[in-house]
Amino acid sequence: MRSRPLSTADLAASPLLQYWQAEAVRLREAHWGPLEDRAACQAALRLPADLQGRILARAAWLAEHGELHDRLIQWSVGARWALAILWLCACLAGIGTAAAVLGPGQVNLALALLGMLGLHALTFLIWLAGWLPGLPDSTALSRLWLWLTQRLVRGPDAALAAQAFLSLLGRARSWKMAIGLISHGAWTAAFLGAVPTLLLLLSARRYTFHWETTLLSPDAFVSVTQALGWLPGLLGFPAPDDAQVAASLGVQPLAAGVQADWSLWLVGSVIAWGLLPRLLALAVCILCLRRRLAGLAVDPGLPGWLDLRERLMPTHVSLGIDRPAPAEGRAADPAVPPPTAHGGRSAVLAYELGPDLAWPPDGLPPGVADLGRCNSRADRARIRGLLNPPPAHLLLVCDARLTPDRAAAAWLDELRRSCPDLRVLCLGGSPQRVQAWQDLLSQQAVAQAVSLDSWLEHIGTPPP
């Protein structure tokens, strides 16, 4: 694993490579599950808060710390070589075609022109037709390409590189441009090979030009020659005049000047109808491709990137705790001497009982004193006064629908210290809350009463 730091210069290096890497990582994660990316995310989080930048940085980190980066570079070098070879082949094919078209010495103009421009015109028209509205983006071509790469290159990563590139171009809607770049480049190379060959052969050898027809009238050939010669004429290429065209039936030998005119007309036609349109189309493709690729952006909604937002653009960060919590509240000191009872007085007390629960309870015998509700600080002060001297038996009735709190614990502790026999009755509440109260009671070493009647039996005062 290389530990090359991820500098901003690196990031700015090649936007296309960055997007390509990101797309490859995305496709890989979408197909084979997420990669281990903690360090990558940390590296990305160090960048300014921008989702796209962070996604790219994360992908770059992952690619560089795996084999992907090298694979992509390898693949792109391979692709460039392939393109160079393709163009070279095209150039050679252009040279060959030019040589073949001129042949040994007798040149049939119609066949020569068809040989030089026929296939080119057909493919160019098809390419133009691809721009007609309503046609699907030429996905079939891309599939062909992908199919080819899958068979040419071994290993999942290599296929991934092509797939990612394809998907990237597809999303930027620049696939047609890329295909155009390749094919127009090839045709340009072909014509760049053909034109000098033509010139060379025409300069070094003597050719005789003629045209032949059985079916057509000679006038048709005259008008075709004129139409084809119009554009080269604008560029300064001479064209044979009508009489010369009519005379070039191959029956009688032509003057040397006419032969030269014909050869220039042929070269002009190849340049104006072959090289020029391809060059123009190539330039358009390059310009559009540049613009489209400059507008590349990460679509965070795509699968594989969608769940990155939460991690790369956290909406909150934890700031931790102030300081560790103290140990849990200590259990009651059992060594408290039991207070001595004064007389046989018994009392009941309501602790923070909900207003919907009636107080004092029905069926309270007259011998049992009601100390009232204990809710506020004033109540507590009043009750402290009433508990001196303390009753022999005290029942604290509490509302188990409320959560027991430290105030309750403190109050129980206070009562326990002043009353010899304190019991607590919990009313209502969910099992969890009742359990919380029971925990509190056992912590404070206070006994629980099951019901009012059982408490009355306990203190020896039967209910009335």
Binding site: L27, A30, H31, P48, A49, T123, I126, A129, G130, L135, P136, D137, S138, T139, A140, L141, R143, L144, L146, W147, S167, G170, R171, R173, W175, G301, L306, D307, R309, E310, M313, T315, H316, V317, S318, L319, G320, I321, D322, A325, P326, E352, G354, D356, N375, S376, R377, D379, R380, R401, L402, T403, D405, R406, A407, A410, G429, S430, R433, A436
Partner: protein
């Protein structure tokens, strides 16, 4: 404190077990923040987190505090420390308390809270509205008021059956606290956060701009979550619609292929559910009852059961296959090919034969008597509607909710109310004594009008997807395609509009 670049600092205070940590969980959309349990004193230290904007700027610090439990004891002790006639102001008295020995002793927890409040800009006083108003609550508010910070009471569990919001509002008004905000942490209102921020902006007017920005940011985040969710659903639908499995005419082979088709679809749906949960920052525990592929699936929830379609109100035509073949369609010869002619034309003009060869291969398969199995239209609609219902349920769910979403809640309300007595299947860590179940049922059944079918636009797009087996990521030979991405985007928009 008036420095605008500093984040707004808020302390979340309240009596014990009123849902302070729950409020933070819901505001932060983080199920894992702190610890939540139905017992007193779950949080025993001050735990803080800050909300960040889109640009990564800290805008709000939220401090979760322990419960203020013994306000009476603190007030008694304060009177002892500095008698009221000594005319100290509130914060001074609180500082004296913090310097006292009991600040590390009996009142350690209370002093932590008060210390936090003194350092913050405002306090959110969380109230469990199911509790009766008691003098201890007034004492707590008095103690907090002594800190000299604005207090915004937050009424929690307002959607619970036992809540007494009116009594609490009345009691708060008597204490001079007229601005309150309802915020049920389990089932928050859709704009609950926004209302909370609006109230805060009224109290902290020098922070109003930042709070407005935060509010806008939260709205953006919500929108983006919805967009992402619909996109996930659109991906699922395209995957399911484009799924196309070749099979022979042999009935046993057909049944096997159908099982495979169902399994792939179910697994894909499960993936989508997990992705949605993840996007909404819920754990997988939130939705555990979803039928897992082929094992222990619940009868009523099985995707391929015609009954499931009917409960969702999807019209089931006469031609719907049942039994072993339910939910799958044998594609007749015209089905796929007629849809594909445009693509075929495009492929031909594009000058390539790869697409055509694929069609050709399929055509040869047809001629050899093979067929293809695809997922039925009603099942696709059920898939989509179910996921949309899940999104709606997640939208209305607070991150404090601990009860899992029950599968039945995803059934839109029919003429008779959806089964509400289904809450016993969850684990026993429910937040309260049953009020929450009602709250969640409410939350899941509030959407304005239930959809019976996916919108016609979506149907059209699904039809297109059917013609492209390579678009299905769960299919035999998935190939990335820009047109598929465009279609998913468009479908997500259509679903978003329908949501």
């Amino acid at each position: 404190m008036t420095d605008a670049s500093k984040p707004i600092d808020l302390a979340v205070v309240g009596h014990t077990n009123t849902g302070k940590t729950s409020l933070l969980r819901t505001l932060l959309r983080d199920e894992s923040f702190g610890e939540v349990a139905d017992r007193p004193g779950t949080t025993r230290h001050v735990e803080s987190a800050q909300l960040l904007t889109e640009t990564g700027q800290a805008i709000l610090v939220l401090r979760d505090t322990p419960g203020l439990e013994d306000a009476m004891g603190v007030l008694d002790y304060l009177d002892q420390l500095s008698p009221p006639q000594e005319r100290h102001d509130g914060p001074e008295r609180i500082r004296a308390l913090l310097d006292s020995p009991e600040a590390a002793g009996r009142f350690e927890q209370e002093c932590r809270v008060l210390d936090a409040v003194l350092k913050t800009d405002a306090a959110l006083y969380v109230i469990d509205t199911r509790d009766p108003v008691l003098p201890k609550h007034r004492d707590e508010l008095m103690l907090l008021a002594a800190c000299g910070r604005p207090i915004l009471p937050v009424l929690n569990f307002t959607r619970a059956a036992l809540s007494d919001t009116a009594a609490w509002r009345d009691a708060l008004a008597r204490l001079g606290l007229h601005a309150t905000v309802d915020f049920d942490t389990v089932a928050p209102a859709l704009d609950g956060e926004g209302q909370l921020l609006d109230r805060l902006a009224l109290m902290l007017d020098h922070h109003a701009v930042a709070l407005q920005a935060l509010r806008a940011d939260l709205g953006q985040q919500r929108l983006r979550r919805l967009q992402d969710a619909t996109r996930l659903i659109a991906e699922l639908l395209v995957d399911a619609a484009a799924l196309r499995l070749p099979c022979s005419q042999d009935p046993t082979d057909m049944a096997t292929i159908t099982l495979g088709l169902r399994k792939r679809t179910r697994d894909r749906e499960q993936d989508c559910v997990h992705a949605l949960l993840k996007r909404y920052r819920f754990s997988k525990m939130t939705f555990p009852h979803h039928p897992l592929p082929l094992e222990g699936e619940r009868w009523g929830m099985d995707l391929f059961n015609p009954q499931a379609l009917r409960t969702f109100g999807i019209q089931v035509g006469k031609g719907l296959a049942t039994g072993a073949m339910a939910g799958a369609t044998i594609d007749v010869l015209t089905g796929g090919l007629s849809l594909g002619t445009a693509a075929l034309l495009g492929a031909a003009i594009g000058g390539a034969w790869q697409g055509a060869s694929q069609w050709g291969k399929r055509l040869v398969g047809r001629l050899a008597g093979n067929t293809e199995m695809t997922v039925d239209d009603p099942v696709l609609h059920l898939l989509g509607l179910r996921q949309l219902a899940l999104v709606r349920a997640l939208e209305c769910r607070g991150h404090a909710a601990m009860r899992p979403i029950d599968g039945d809640l995803l059934t839109p309300p029919g003429p008779e109310p959806a089964g509400s007595g289904t809450g016993d299947s969850g684990p026993d860590v429910t937040q309260d004594q049953g009020g929450q179940a009602a709250a969640e049922t409410d939350a899941a059944t509030t959407p304005p009008e239930p959809l019976r079918r996916l919108p016609p636009d979506v149907q059209r797009m699904l039809d297109e997807a059917r013609g492209h087996p390579a678009w299905s990521s769960i299919g035999e030979d998935p190939v990335p395609d820009a047109r598929r991405e465009a279609l998913v985007g468009a479908m997500a928009q259509a679903l978003f509009a329908a949501l």
